[in-house]
Homo-oligomer: 648 residues x 2
């Protein structure tokens, strides 16, 4: 096993890139918004997922496979193996995050052992295909998800080897044997096709990085380049559904299934970086830019079609039919993070932040044991209560559900939260860059061997102040860079030594503010920017929210829930009957964001189209009501809800 | 075979009702908007459908069944048999409409013979289930469509027996044998379940009417009453998908799959009428009222979810994601027509007219050989050209396609057009009611034996003038009633004899205007109402079209197509860049409807949310552009299109 010792214990480890990721052994989040979520994830969510994998038989499938009892008794959908692998990845990162934890380590090894027992002598590994009585291997590439499952296996194996390089659990070898088979079957002279759900591409490049084996990189390249050549059949949703409509390097924007599109893009960035393929990287940057400018919700959510879980056309972003799948949020973070490492632009970190706060953090309940699969921006009817003991057949459940027939989202959230420290900061030859703000300890070594240790203190996003305490002395100057969020109207950087101001920088432009200095231990770098609630308007081409405003505060998007109308004593009890008074900006009182609203009294009409005079009236009196951060909505029971509020 | 000779040769023949339908032997449409479409339907569409049924093997499935070769070689989806039955129904009506046509008669009989050969000794008839190697009979009621197919078989058989009572082709007996089996299998002591797709209910009641066999009515009652008791499994879309969430008599509004919902409602009206069940009829009236007030597009289209082809929540009517399935339009006409017969209110005829002009007439191309399955109200990208020789895998194809993998819509349009004369007029004890305006000959006999003959002359909807020439003398007064459409601002009724004005009535209120007289042959009753283009606003609760207007003219909804922007020499070539000047009402010049618009110049933004100042500008200069009737859109090649236009 060839593992580079210089590889960070982080989700993406490019062999070359503009920025170098810092691993979980270099960055630790210490409490705060994200630290609390990591804690819940490690304490509750991982056990919750393990319980459901067992209960639903998706883990049991491996035992049936090992004992030759399949296909009888196999449970779950064709991609259920992948949830086991995502769980393994999450646990691997969690072990890396926590340090040694005998119980978690034991749980990890026991699952790996069950997976190992199901692998066939030639490396094939899937509980759904290939046995007598089952569909044959690789016969249904468009829907079978065999390669997709392996992609997740590879990611899990890479997570493990990066956090515990010396582990002897065998997962890495399982992955390699499966990858070797894939290269044999789908190589230059093999089946000239792809998987209907991208993911193997990421897994193969990461495996190539972790092993140094160029075959895996070549195989990833074949898969990426075959996309868009029409190797899969045309279907109801069109070939765009699985990105087999336009070659990756020719496409201008992401389209089709939003998770597939982002996984493919992420894998293609990995490939472009490893092969120094600037043309491919340019194409992906262009796609990212257009997707963010035209096909992304204000939450960072992506996918506006329920039918095919897909992107809509440009500016087709209906809030009430927002699919905004949690997994698409995770996948978008994966794509953006790879672009950030490759290019260094703060805009990628901006989108990661927006998506983490308003999509990924929205999915799990406060307890970490129920999840949104889809994340609507407008709830017209109070949602039903999800039974905490029942599998939801509905992806677009209107309350968080404990588990789904298609349960991709819970383990996707879990692996993201467990590895979240890996997205906080990076390094380059010249210093350290802070991208996400959370209380954190950072300790890394620059390429020239200089050790740098930092302690980040912040109450972000409650407050817009970030203090970075330098813990190490430096003889030579190095550069500390901090992101100024795109929404910040101003930002001030101050460096203090022993209470004395050494440097003061005003940076009005969002982007990056940097300070180069021979820092001494005890120096404090403080970035301050105002965080106040603000109205945001939509581009007029977003038809579905014409005449509406959204309230944002820092990186958080806010929502109006009907329960707060009741609490405020407003006559109307449904968000449908509320209009925002745009002349009064939102204000913050005792940590709550308040807006001025008026009641609307609709007409009871037999036909909802006519001349304007018969369309009801709006009350003259203005009342104040509190909004909640969108990621907290539906935590107090069924409510109607809207993010975009009609404004007068 | 017991067939009441008093049964009209019409799609619905209640044994009691407020209004009595007139059959195809009593009403004939003579040219005009609908006559032309009937002509195209009879000349081109029926042959087109027959060709595709043959080519796709859906007819051939019956031959395979007859010769014992199934399941090998069976083609098409589980409900493909139903398309053959809908085709038979359409041909039956067409034979009724045209009078004797040896070639059509021969075609009809040859298909019936192939169907007959596939029926099993116990009456079972379905090419997809029940044979060795196939799924067993009735084992998959939620998705199998077996009863749904039989419902269409029954409708076809009833159409045949009503138009050719003495035909010896055997179709009616095939239907009876199948219905007898259904009663045995699903009766009081049988399988306590329903079909996932309502339709059998209509078929059974109509078969009960045509045979006088009460068992069929009882069976229809069982199926209707079982809906909403949770007999089918919960699924991703919820039990509302197949109306198994709430009992029919308890529901307040249609929900779930829009075709299923309307078919069930239509069958339930049939049942309520035959069993004099006023409570059930009240429930259906309430559902109709709420569905029209809150869940229907301005076109009359229904269904705002692509995912499950379903109704959305109240006021969830996004134009760009309008599913508005053609079949849902047909089904809505079926439901409304039954309510009209039962209650007599003009509002039902108003909706039928709106739906016929703007949904059903929109589906087929001018040539009658390509069809919309879904009918969007907003096309953001120019649609692709559909290959006239290829099956479309996409229901929501952006141009009309010759055939679909799920091809319910073409034969549904065909059977509606062929029987359209049956929706024009009704009679009661006191006279004749005109509901739809088309050049037509009407000849019927009132209950007391009086013969009445009328000739309707009109250029509707081009002009709002309807002349009814009475061809028969009457000794006693009788009443001629005409519908005043809901959108008519005024209406004038004049009766003339030898050019002299006998009666003049002004009726400003939409609804029905009536004239009771002992009419003489040669009398002319003339109804006039202005037809001018008008702006229509949406209820403010329809979020998706806030700030937009639609242009209507008479019963027709209009649309802006990008091709007309180019033609008008307006700089903008995409409807996305156009704003309506609401201060200038639409006007009509040389038969074209013109509106005043201004160009919008959007900002090129990297993120489409921000403060209002950065959202682009609108040109000061106003230009005029022509709109097209919505049912004519996309006849001139790919265009972007919108029905609802943002207005300033």
């Amino acid at each position: 096993m060839t593992v580079s010792t210089r590889t960070p214990s982080a989700p993406v480890a490019p062999s070359r890139s503009r920025l170098r990721p810092l691993g979980l052994d270099e960055v630790a989040i210490r409490g705060g918004f994200w630290g609390d979520r990591q804690e819940v994830n490690g304490r509750a969510t991982l056990a919750h997922i393990a319980g459901w994998l067992e209960r639903e038989g998706w883990l049991g499938n491996f035992d049936l496979a090992a004992s030759g009892r399949l296909p009888e008794g196999r449970r779950g959908r064709e991609f259920s193996d992948s949830e086991v692998y995502k769980y393994l990845e999450a646990v691997a990162w969690e072990i890396g995050r926590r340090g040694d934890d005998a119980e978690l380590e034991e749980r990890f090894r026991s699952v790996v052992a069950r997976v190992a027992a199901a692998q066939e002598p030639d490396g094939y590994l899937n509980t759904r295909f290939g046995r007598p009585g089952q569909d044959p291997r690789w016969a249904n590439l468009e829907w079978g998800h065999e390669l997709y499952c392996l992609g997740h296996l590879f990611q899990a194996a890479v997570a493990r080897v990066r956090t515990r390089p010396d582990a002897d659990d065998g997962l890495f070898d399982i992955a390699r044997r499966a990858a070797d088979l894939v290269c044999k079957v789908f190589g230059d002279d093999g089946i000239q096709s792809i998987c209907g759900h991208a993911e193997i591409e990421i897994g193969l490049v990461e495996l190539a990085r972790a092993t140094g084996d160029e075959r895996y990189l070549r195989q990833a390249q074949l898969f990426v380049e075959r996309h868009g050549t029409g190797v899969l059949p045309d279907i109801e949703f069109g070939r765009s559904y699985y990105q087999d409509d336009i070659p990756v390097r020719e496409a201008d924007v992401l389209r089709g299934h939003a998770v597939r599109a982002n996984y493919l893009a992420a894998g293609a960035v990995d490939l472009a970086v490893e092969t120094a393929d600037e043309g491919l990287l340019d194409a992906l940057e262009r796609q990212w830019t257009n997707t963010i400018a035209r096909r992304t919700y204000v939450t960072g959510g992506q996918g506006s079609h329920h039918q095919d879980e897909a992107f809509g056309d440009d500016f087709e972003l209906p809030p009430d039919r927002a699919y905004s799948e949690t997994c698409a949020g995770v996948a978008s973070v994966m794509f953006s993070w790879r672009m950030l490492l490759a290019k260094g632009d703060a805009r990628y970190a901006d989108l990661i932040e927006r998506t983490l706060f308003n999509v990924v953090a929205t999915s799990p309940s406060a307890e970490g044991t129920a999840f949104y699969y889809a994340n609507t921006l407008h709830q017209r009817r109070p949602g039903e209560h999800a039974d905490p003991d029942e599998v939801s057949p509905r992806a677009s459940s209107s309350l968080r559900a404990p588990w789904f027939e298609v349960a991709c989202c819970p383990p996707n959230v879990a692996r993201t939260f467990a590895s979240l420290a890996g997205y906080v900061a990076t390094a380059d030859a010249d210093g350290v860059q802070l991208h996400q703000y959370a209380p954190a300890s950072i300790r890394t070594t620059l390429d020239d061997g200089r050790e740098i240790a930092l302690e980040v203190e912040t109450a972000y996003p409650a407050e817009g102040s970030v203090r970075v305490r330098v813990l190490t002395d430096a003889a030579e100057p190095w550069t500390l860079s901090l992101r100024v969020p795109a929404w910040a109207e101003s930002a001030k950087l101050v460096v203090r030594r022993n209470g004395e101001e050494l440097v003061q920088t005003w940076e009005a432009e969002p982007g990056t503010v940097s300070c180069s200095k021979a820092f001494s231990a005890g120096d404090v770098v403080e970035l301050e920017f105002p965080i106040v609630p603000r109205f945001t308007s939509p581009d007029p081409r977003i038809d579905a929210v014409r005449g509406c405003l959204v309230v944002e505060r820092g990186p958080e998007v806010f929502a109006l829930e009907s329960i707060d109308l009741v609490e405020a004593g407003i006559g109307a009890t449904d968000v449908a009957d509320i209009v925002l008074d745009a002349s009064m900006p939102p204000r913050e009182v005792d940590g709550r964001v308040l807006v001025a609203v008026r009641e609307r009294h609709p007409e009871i009409a037999s036909w909802p189209y006519g001349d304007e005079t018969g369309m009801g009236s709006t009350a003259a009196s203005v009342q104040e009501v509190a909004l909640v951060p969108y990621h907290e909505w539906a935590e107090r029971g069924p409510s109607t809800m809207r993010v975009w509020i009609p404004a007068t």
